[in-house]
Symmetry: C4
Subunit: 279 residues, 4 copies
C-alpha cells in the first residue's frame, strides 16, 4: 500500500483539455445514461443534466416513459428512450463511449432486467459507470461483472454491500484489495471522498456539509460520465470530476446554507472554462 495522494486543482488543468478548433459533437463523446424508474426519475434527470453541462457531445437517456416530459422540459439537449425497450437499449449502449447505469434505477425485477441488458450489451473498450441501486443489485444478486472499463461510485453502505467490508473497516488497504479484484476505479463517496484506481489512491480535499442533500451522487455520476466521454485519461477524468463537483459546491457554500445538485451542474460551463488547460 502506497500513501494516499491528496488531489489539488492541478488535476483540472491536467484533464480539461483546450478544445481543438476543428471538432464536432462526436469529438466530445457519446454518453448513455440508464436509470430513473417510476419513483426516482429525478436521479436520472440530474445525471443527464450533469453530463450535458459538463460538455459531453451527445447524451441519450434510457428511462421510464414518465420521465420523458420533465427531462425535456429541463433539458431538450438530451435524447430519450424507454429503458424497457431491449433492442434500443442494446443499440444505444453499444454506440456509447461511456455508459452510466444506476441513478434512480430501483431494485425491482424490471430494474434488474435493465441492468442485465446493459451488462450484455457493453463491450470491453467502453467505460461503464455503475452507481446507486445498480451496485446494490450486483451485490444482492451476485451478478457477474461484464468486461469493460468499470467505475463504481458507491456511498459507504453500498460499498459495504459490494465489497463485504463493513463501514467501520473501510480502510485504504482493504478497499484497495477489493478494487484490484474488481479491476475497476472505485469512487467511495463520503464527506471526504476517496478514489481508488490502478494508478494509485486519492483523497478529495474539497466538499462541504452544504452538499449533504439528495441528488448529489446522481450529479457526480453524470459528471464522471461526461468527463470520461470527453477526456482520454480515464483515471484523471474521474479524479477531475470528483474534485470539480465538490469544489463548485464549496464556492456556492460561501453564500448558501444548502447547495442543490442542479445548482452545481449549472456552474460547470464557466468553472471548466476557468480551469481548463492553457494549451
Amino acid at each position: 500500500m502506497v500513501a494516499m495522494k491528496t488531489l489539488t486543482e492541478k488535476i483540472l488543468t491536467d484533464t480539461i483539455r483546450l478544445r481543438p478548433a476543428n471538432s464536432h459533437k462526436g469529438t466530445f463523446g457519446r454518453v448513455c445514461l440508464v436509470g430513473g424508474n417510476y419513483q426516482f426519475g429525478g436521479a436520472i434527470i440530474m445525471a443527464t443534466e450533469a453530463s450535458v453541462y459538463s460538455g459531453a457531445g451527445l447524451n441519450t437517456t434510457l428511462t421510464d416513459v414518465v420521465n420523458f416530459g420533465p427531462l425535456h422540459a429541463r433539458l431538450p439537449e438530451a435524447m430519450v428512450t424507454e429503458f424497457t425497450n431491449q433492442k434500443a437499449l442494446t443499440q444505444l449502449v453499444s454506440a456509447a463511449d461511456t455508459v452510466v447505469v444506476g441513478p434512480g434505477l430501483g431494485v425491482e425485477s424490471d430494474s434488474l432486467t435493465v441492468l442485465k441488458g446493459v451488462f450484455d450489451a457493453i463491450r470491453p473498450s467502453q467505460t461503464l459507470l455503475i452507481d446507486g441501486s445498480a451496485i446494490t443489485m450486483i451485490a444482492e444478486n451476485d451478478l457477474p461483472l461484464p468486461t469493460a472499463h468499470l467505475i463504481f461510485t458507491p456511498h459507504q453502505m453500498e460499498w459495504q454491500r459490494l465489497s463485504g467490508i463493513p463501514i467501520n473497516n473501510q480502510e485504504n488497504e482493504a478497499n484497495e484489495k477489493v478494487r484490484e479484484e474488481l479491476d475497476a476505479i472505485v469512487v467511495l463517496k463520503s464527506h471526504r471522498t476517496r478514489i481508488y484506481t490502478s494508478e494509485g489512491s486519492f483523497m478529495n480535499p474539497t466538499g462541504t456539509p452544504a452538499q449533504a442533500t439528495g441528488g448529489m451522487g446522481d450529479t457526480l455520476a453524470g459528471m464522471i460520465g461526461g468527463f470520461t466521454a470527453q477526456f482520454t485519461h480515464r483515471e484523471n477524468a474521474v479524479l477531475a470530476a470528483v474534485y470539480a463537483h465538490s469544489d463548485i459546491a464549496d464556492n456556492l457554500a460561501d453564500h448558501q446554507y444548502v447547495v442543490l445538485p442542479t445548482q452545481i451542474m449549472h456552474q460547470l460551463p464557466t468553472y471548466m472554462h476557468d480551469h481548463q488547460s492553457k494549451r
Copy 2:
C-alpha cells in the same frame, strides 16, 4: 396565560445550526410530504420545493400521478410515489423524520383514505405537520388524532373548524386552551401569525400584504417540514421557519408589489446562510 412573546431575528441564529463537517444527507433529516390531488397539485409541489430549499436531506412526495411530471420538471431533487399506493405510503411515512400532510390533498373520499393511511403509519417519535384540507377533514369527520409530535398550521377559518372557536373570538387564552387539549404546536396564520406551543405563545412580527397570494401556506408548511427534520429543538424550528418565511417576503416586498411563494423558497439557501449560528 402568560404574555405572548414577539419573535426576533434571534430565533434564526438560535435554530439554524452551523452544519457539522462530517455529515451526510441522512444527518439533515428525511421529509415525507403527502398531498396534491388532481386539482391542487401545485400546493404539494410548492411544499416539497420549500422543504428541499430549506436543506432537508431527503424528500419524498406522495401525490397524484398527474403531479410527477411538473414536480420533476421543477425539482429533480425530490422523489415521488402515488399517494394511493398504501404500501408505499406506510413505508415512506414510517421512514421519515417529519411528515407533512395536507397541501392540496382535497376533501374527497380518496383524500380521506390517504389521511387515514398517514395516521395509521405515523409513530409517536415522529413529527407530523397537518395542514390545509387535512385539518378540515379532521374537523368534519371527527377523526381521532394519532400519537406523534403534532403541528397544525391552520388559517383562521380552518382553526375555527378544528377548535370550534369562531374567527372573531380567536383570542390567546381560548387558543392556548385548545392547543393544550390537542397537545400540539399550533401555527395560526394571519397577517400577524401567532404560534402556540407548550413552551409559550409567540407573535410573528414579520410579514407583508405582498404575501397575500395563493400558495403561501403550502410554502410555509414545506419550510416547517424541512426545518423540523434538520433542527432538533422542534418548537424553535417551527418559530424560525415562520419568522424566516415572512422576513424573506418582507425583503422581496421592498421591490415587489406581490411576492410569489416560489420566490420565497428560492431565497432560502442564501437567507439561511446569512442567519445561521456562528458556532
Copy 3:
C-alpha cells in the same frame, strides 16, 4: 362623441392601490381562467401566469387535462380543473370575482359547450372578460350575452366579427355605438390600442413593434383579469392593465429586438411596486 383621451402613467397610481396591512389572499380577488384546448394550451398558461404575477389572490384555470403538467411546471401557484367538468366549472365560475374566458379555447363544439357553461354560471355582479376565440364563437353562433360586467378584448378582425364593422371602418364613433349596445368595456387591440368604456374612450400611447408576437393578447387578458379582481374601479383597472402591459414591453424593447409575453409578466411585481399609489 367626446374626444378620445390619451392614457398617461397617472392611470397606474390612480389604480394600483397601496395594499392594506391587514389583508389576506381573499382581499386580492379570485380569478377563474377558462381556455386552452389540446392545441392552444400555451394561451391559457400565459393568461394564468399574467394573472398570478399581477397579484390576484387566488387563481384557478379550467383547461384541457394536457395542459395541467406544463402549467404546474411553470406555476405551481395556480389551481387547475378540466374545463369539460361542467359541475366544477359552474362552481368555480360562480366563486370568482373575475372570469377570463377565451385564451386558446378554440372553436370546436367542445369549446362552444365550455363557453355556454361559463355564460350559464356567471352572475350579474361578476366581471367577465371575453377574449380570442370566445369572441369569434359569439359572433359565429349569435350567442346571447349573459348579464355581467362584460369586457371584450378583440383584435381588429375579431372586432369586425363581433361588431360587424369592417377593419377599415373601425372609427371611434362606430366603435362607441356598438360598445354601448354591448354594455361592455371594449379593448380594441392594435399597435395603438383603444379602450371604449361608459366613462369615455381612451388611446393607449405605449407599445412597441417588438411586442408583435404570439401570446401578447393572452397575456393582456390575464393581466386585466388580475387587475379587475384586485382593484375596485373596473374601468381604471382595465386601462391600467393595458397601459402597464405595453409600457413594460417598451422598457424591455430598449434592449430587445423582440419581447416575449412571458418576459412581460415576470416584470409585473417590480413594475407595479414602482407605480403604485403612495397612499
Copy 4:
C-alpha cells in the same frame, strides 16, 4: 466557380430590419415546425424555441403528443398539433411562410409519412427548410422534392447522403454543382460552415468548439426558420442566421467551456437588438 466570400457582421445590419411601428404579429411571419418523434422531442423543442426567440410572429409545432407538455412548460408562446394529424398538418403547412421539417423527426415509417405530407402540402411561394433526418429520408427513399424555396441544412454526412459527394471530396465546385441541381440554398454545417446560394457561396468565420454539442443544428434550423419568415431577402436571412448563431456562441465561449443550444437562443432578443439596421 467564383471565389467564396467570407461573411462579416455587416450581414446582420443588412438583414435585421428596424421593425415598422405600425405592425402586428402577422407582419413578422408564421413558422410551422415539424419534427420530434417519441425519442427526439428535444430537437423540435429547441428549433421552436429558437424560432420564437428570433422574433417570428406566430409559431406552430407539429410533433408527437409526448412533446406537448415539455414544449409548453418551456415555451407557452408556441402552438402545438400532432404531426400524425394529416388534416391539421396540411392546413398548418399551407398557412405558413416558412416550414421547418426534420429536427428529431426520425426515420421510421411514420416519419416518412409526415415528411411526404409536408411535401404534398407545400406551395411554390413558401420557404421549406429541410433538416436532419428529413435529409436522410430523402436520400434513402429517393423522394422527389417539392417545388418551393428550398433550404437544406445538412452536416457533412447528411450532405454525403443527399449529394453523393463523399465527405473528403466536399469541395466548393462539387457542392455548388449539386446545389444548382437542387435549386436550393445549402447550409453545409461544420466547424466552418459554408453556405451555397444562387447569389454566391459564403464561408462563416464565426464558431467555437464550445458549440460542438447535441442540439446545435436544431437551434440553427429554428433560427433560419424565424429569420426567413421575418426578413424578405431569403439568402440574407439564411446567412444572417448562420452568422448570428455562431457569433453568439463565440461570445458565450469567452466564459464557458461548453455552450448549450438553449443558451444561444435566449441571447437572440438582445443580440438582434444590438445588430439591427439603424433605419
